[in-house]
């Protein structure tokens, strides 16, 4: 096997995949769940347009995101001074942008599906605003976790953005999906398949963890 990926380099690739995808997923969840809740519970002028944009964003082609982030971060771009292009940070940024609309849109719809009478009931029981939103998120937890799972699915497998803004540089920005592309181009199909199996295993493990979370989210509101 004349692979570009051998020995400890493989562990580096797996570690970087987990780091980039994990950070992007955490960022999209931290930003996306409150934004989805805000859109579900608040009415304001322009909300429908914003929701339409979120739904459009749920189908964003990763390569287009990669292109836009590339242009933003390139030396002549508005964020070129940051020096992020061809770094894991650029890949994390692109993947966060890919996952964010999925997390926002699916969180919003899962919260809107909660019985509207429950909001009145919670207020009648003396819930403050934070307790009310926490309880509603807890009621919609299956949908909220599904939103995060969908966000994860959108970024673990994407290759276009990672390739464009990361550059697939060995030892620096090579992740499992971009390594698979490289090995395939070199005709190393067997090794590419091994990397694919690793990617799938990683996705499976993360999904198992997220699904376990569905049953463990605490709901008591504290003081």
């Amino acid at each position: 096997m004349v692979s570009q990926v051998e020995g400890s380099a493989l562990w580096e690739i797996i570690a970087l995949t987990i780091r980039v995808t994990g950070t992007a997923l955490a960022a999209s969840a931290v930003l996306g769940i409150p934004t989805g809740a805000f859109l579900a519970f608040t009415r304001f002028p322009g909300r429908r347009l914003l929701v339409a944009l979120v739904y459009t964003g749920m189908g964003l082609p990763p390569v287009v995101v990669g292109l836009v982030v590339y242009l933003l971060l390139s030396r002549s771009g508005p964020l070129g001074e940051l020096g992020w292009l061809f770094t894991p940070t650029a890949m994390t940024l692109a993947q966060t942008i890919i996952a964010l609309p999925l997390v926002i849109g699916l969180t919003m719809t899962s919260l809107e599906a909660v019985d509207p009478q429950l909001r009145l009931q919670l207020r009648s029981m003396g819930a403050d605003r934070r307790q009310e939103v926490t309880a509603l998120l807890s009621e919609a937890r299956a949908g909220v976790v599904a939103a995060v799972v969908a966000g994860f699915g959108g970024i673990i497998s994407e290759v276009g953005a990672a390739m464009l803004v990361g550059g697939n540089i060995a030892g620096r920005t090579r992740v499992l999906s971009t390594a698979i592309v490289l090995e395939t181009r070199m005709g190393e199909f067997q090794f590419a398949l091994v990397l694919g199996a690793l990617l799938l295993s990683l996705a499976f493990l993360v999904n198992i963890l997220l699904l376990r979370l569905q049953h463990r989210i605490p709901y008591w509101p504290g003081r």
Binding site: Q121, S124, M125, G126, A135, S138
Partner: protein, 240 residues
């Protein structure tokens, strides 16, 4: 006569420009059981939402213990009143956690009160059951237990026994009677049932078409109703 707890003065509720409730004056006295009757669409549930500060009147004012209530009502005021809705909406948790929930909101240890209420409402055996699997009667009893756990000064009951079988109806009514006798809780009970109104009311208010058409002590309301629509209700006739 005791002091009024909740008062409505010139309160009007409108939805999309249509007036659904107008109350010139209504005062709920401390420790009384005020039963609100009237046909569907009369504004009974809207009245309860006003009294629970869940929505503001388009005009007029609401007073609680003599103080004008501004919307949104402050949390400490909202926590003195609670509602058992006609359709109980329970959390997707166990029966115990549903009853305990309001106490947890207040940062209080719920165990003692929750177990006592579960026992009182014959729900002890269901404490670990998921609320989603309960029958209508069991759900309504859980909703009542959840409200009672909060020990509210004013308890609003929106048709608490609608669609209940005699066993569950008996349990709920017994609990309401106990509230009146022992806890001296102020009650506002919405019902369609003239017999239930007779059993539970100190006073009766009848709503029709979004307007209060008669408010009276229970005995004169049932013995000598002034309004012909109230008289029809007392006779058990259909009031459209």
């Amino acid at each position: 006569m005791s002091d009024p707890v909740v008062e409505l003065h010139g309160a009007e509720v409108t939805y999309a420009g249509r007036t659904v409730l107008t109350v010139d004056r209504l005062a709920v006295q401390e420790h009384e059981a005020l039963v609100v009757v009237g046909p569907n669409g009369a504004g009974k549930s809207t009245l309860l939402r006003l009294m629970n500060f869940l929505e503001p009147p388009a005009s007029g004012e609401i007073l609680f213990c003599g103080e004008r209530v501004r919307h949104p009502a402050p949390l400490n005021l909202r926590r003195r009143v609670t509602t058992v809705f006609q359709r109980p909406v329970l959390l997707h948790r166990t029966v115990f956690e549903n009853v305990a929930y309001g106490l947890r909101l207040r940062g209080r240890d719920p165990a003692g009160v929750t177990w006592a209420l579960l026992k009182r409402l014959d729900l002890e055996g269901l404490s670990g059951a998921q609320a989603a699997g309960l029958s209508g009667g069991e759900s309504q009893r859980v909703a009542l237990a959840r409200a009672l756990a909060l020990d509210p000064e004013v308890l609003l009951l929106d048709e608490p026994t609608a669609n209940l079988d005699p066993f569950n109806l008996g349990l709920v009514e017994a609990m309401i009677q106990e509230l009146r006798a022992e806890r001296r809780c102020t009650l506002v009970i919405v019902t369609h049932n003239v017999f239930q109104a007779r059993r539970l009311a100190d006073r009766v208010a009848m709503l029709h078409g979004g307007t209060l058409i008669e408010v009276a002590e229970a005995a004169p309301f049932f013995d000598r109703p002034r309004d012909p629509r109230a008289a029809a209700f007392v006779r058990g006739e259909l009031v459209a």
